[in-house]
């Protein structure tokens, strides 16, 4: 067995182990926690890149835990889809961790630092576990690790976050219990928990009502977790009041990982043939279209910047689920299948990660939560606000940004699926995005820097002409993510003329037999 084939399990186990190492190391030296976290996540990122390379060149990685053969033991399976999501998870975690170091030194009491980084490390390990596992029950356990650490991290500042975290806990637990019930139904008819084994045993049972109920339960369970309308009610509060890098993780990664889990269960356990028996995916497309408009309209109504971004996340999840919903009815392999959805998972992680980190920077420096508090900050924090503008125009969809690429691919998918109403919805959504992001950009740059506005609670900083930029450790992730919004856009765009789109996403479509639908 090659070393690289051990990497998936190593990422999860060393991740959990590192969590407790941080806890013990924190007893000796509090400063070391952040560095241990960053070095572990960085080494995992390198490992995940090796995994991605191996999966694309050699093939799918199977790892049997404890050497037990798959139907009995737990199996970790990494194919092109997992490897792609794994790289995104670890990359955004590294960025959020870099940012968290200075942000939490400033915001959180010192005695909480050790447990904060312990929980953060366990969160990252849990996310990696959900992504690499090939066993439905193992996925349940690891999702609970993610969920429990996320509840605690959201609640870490205290105050308003407690209620938000409690709401998320109740809704998230109900959601994951629906998933547990769904896999219980599947277990009762197939007698196995392994995804690949279930895929083989299920087809004769496709007409069974029980299998439909199981799929419905899993769909509802994951819909709560990924905040699909109308089950999104936990999201705005949790995103708005959590520490900023946790908001970025929640919006950029955690809800996307549950989208991944939904895609994995839909296409790896069930198959495209099952999904075509009922109009499930058509319904998902319409719900997603409603989510796009609803999220954007409510975002316009918000005065709290992070809350506005949270509603924007609801709308962006609509884009991803619209891509998923259309994936089984696209006729050509060139544009269709899961390509737009998977593309937007990366794009949304970059854009929303950057935007939430910038919103955190405003809170860090000026304690400015509301949009009206941001007057004239464009000149005081040129780099941070420049990053905000780059990410915001990506959200609107200005070429060559990543948001533009997603919209182009979605429009091609609409054409392939023969549905033109969605195109109108997409254009309307771009306009609404323009409205609420332009409002912020206008306040940042075009209103006079209010001496009356926010200068009273930091008079000591108010020396004229002095730049009030955030520390370098916080600036690096913000600028990296913002520039990647443009660079990845160009990378995606230059791939378009090549037949077969992008190798990773093409590989995924081939794996699930998507993109060649003949009605």
């Amino acid at each position: 067995m090659l070393l690289v084939e051990q990497f998936p399990v190593l990422i999860v186990t060393t991740g959990v182990f590192a969590g407790y190492t941080i806890l013990i190391a924190g007893l000796v030296n509090r400063k070391s926690c952040a560095y241990i976290f960053l070095s572990v996540v960085f080494s995992h990122l390198i490992m995940s890149l090796f995994i991605l390379h191996h999966v694309l060149t050699v093939g799918t990685i199977h790892y049997w835990l404890g050497g037990w053969r798959p139907p009995w033991g737990i199996e970790y399976v990494v194919d092109a889809l997992n490897a792609y999501i794994l790289v995104i998870v670890l990359f955004l975690s590294l960025m959020a961790g870099l940012y968290a170091k200075r942000y939490e030194e400033h915001k959180l009491e010192e005695r909480k630092h050790v447990t904060y980084f312990t929980l953060f490390q366990l969160l990252v390990a849990g996310l990696c576990g959900v992504v690499v596992t090939g066993d439905v029950f193992n996925m349940y356990v690891l999702s609970e690790i993610v969920a429990l650490t996320a509840y605690a991290l959201i609640a870490s500042p205290g105050g308003r976050t407690l209620k938000a975290s409690y709401n998320y806990l109740v809704m998230g637990s109900v959601g994951i219990c629906f998933y547990l019930l769904g896999i219980g139904f599947l277990y009762s008819v197939t007698g196995t928990l392994n995804m690949a084994d279930m895929r083989i045993l299920l087809p004769p049972l496709y007409q069974n009502r029980l299998v439909f109920v199981a799929y419905a339960l899993i769909l509802v369970g994951f819909s709560i977790k990924m905040a699909l309308i109308p089950l999104h009610t936990w999201l705005p509060d949790a995103h708005a009041f959590a520490p900023s890098e946790i908001s970025a993780m929640l919006s950029g990664i955690i809800i996307e990982v549950y989208t991944y889990a939904f895609i994995r269960i839909s296409f790896s356990v069930f198959t495209v043939d099952f999904l075509r028996l009922l109009p499930i995916f058509d319904i998902i497309s319409w719900i997603a279209a409603i989510a796009i408009i609803y999220g954007s309209v409510l975002a316009i109504a918000q005065i709290n910047l992070k809350r506005m971004l949270a509603y924007s996340s609801v709308s962006q999840m609509g884009y991803i689920m619209l891509g998923v919903g259309l994936s089984i009815s696209t006729r050509s392999a060139l544009w269709g299948g899961l390509t737009p959805a998977l593309m937007h998972i990366l794009n949304h992680a970059l854009m929303k990660g950057c935007l939430f980190l910038v919103a955190g920077a405003f809170i860090y420096k000026f304690n400015a939560w509301n949009i009206t508090d941001l007057r004239g900050l464009g000149r005081k924090m040129p780099w941070t606000c420049g990053a905000f503008v780059l990410a915001a125009i990506s959200m609107i969809g200005v070429p060559p940004s990543v948001g533009f690429v997603t919209k182009v691919y979605l429009i091609f998918a609409f054409v392939e699926a023969g549905n033109f109403i969605f195109m109108a919805i997409l254009l309307l959504s771009a306009l609404l995005n323009l409205v609420y992001f332009w409002r912020v950009i206008e306040i940042l740059y075009m209103r006079p820097g209010g001496e009356e506005g926010h200068s009273e609670h930091h008079a000591e900083h108010a020396a004229p002409g002095k730049s009030e930029e955030i520390p370098l450790f916080m600036l690096i992730p913000v600028v990296t993510l913002a520039s990647l919004c443009m660079i990845m856009g160009i990378v995606w765009l230059t791939e378009i003329p090549i037949v077969g789109a992008i190798p990773i996403l093409d590989n995924v479509n081939k794996l699930f037999g998507l993109g060649a639908y003949t009605p």
Partner: protein, 138 residues
């Protein structure tokens, strides 16, 4: 009619009980305004799911009318000779994990409720919302 009743209700009574408990749990989670009662509802909901899983392991009872034939999955020579049907241990083991997860969730939720009580002086949802609204207006 009687036969249908026996087959669908009596033979599967623990599945009916599981459905009943799950529904009580979901009702309490949604309808109660007290945060602790919500949490109790959540625990009841999870317990219903455990009962459902554990019932799955009992493969013997569906074979004979109402008679429970599956024995605990302990291998002993006399039992093999008598031709006992063993219960499937896997769902039970899964639910051990499920109970641990449920206990952890309840623990985190209780910690949050205690913190909220310290912060707002109440655990009624509508009162907390009113206090948050007052905070927003200020």
């Amino acid at each position: 009619m009687l036969e249908w009743f026996v087959q669908e209700v009596f033979e599967k009574y623990n599945f009916w009980t599981a459905i009943f408990i799950i529904l009580i749990g979901i009702y309490a989670t949604i309808a109660k305004g007290n945060l602790l009662k919500k949490l109790i509802g959540l625990s009841i909901f999870q317990t219903g799911i455990f009962l459902f899983y554990i019932s799955l392991g009992d493969i013997g009872s569906l074979a004979n009318w109402g008679l429970r034939t599956a024995t605990p999955p302990i291998l002993w020579e006399e039992g093999v000779e008598l031709g006992y049907v063993y219960a499937n241990p896997l769902p039970h083991v899964l639910m051990l994990t499920g109970i641990v997860v449920s206990a952890a969730t309840t623990g985190v939720a209780l910690a949050l409720v205690v913190r909220m009580y310290q912060e707002y002086g109440t655990i009624e949802e509508d009162e907390i919302m009113r206090k948050e609204m007052e905070l927003d207006q200020r």
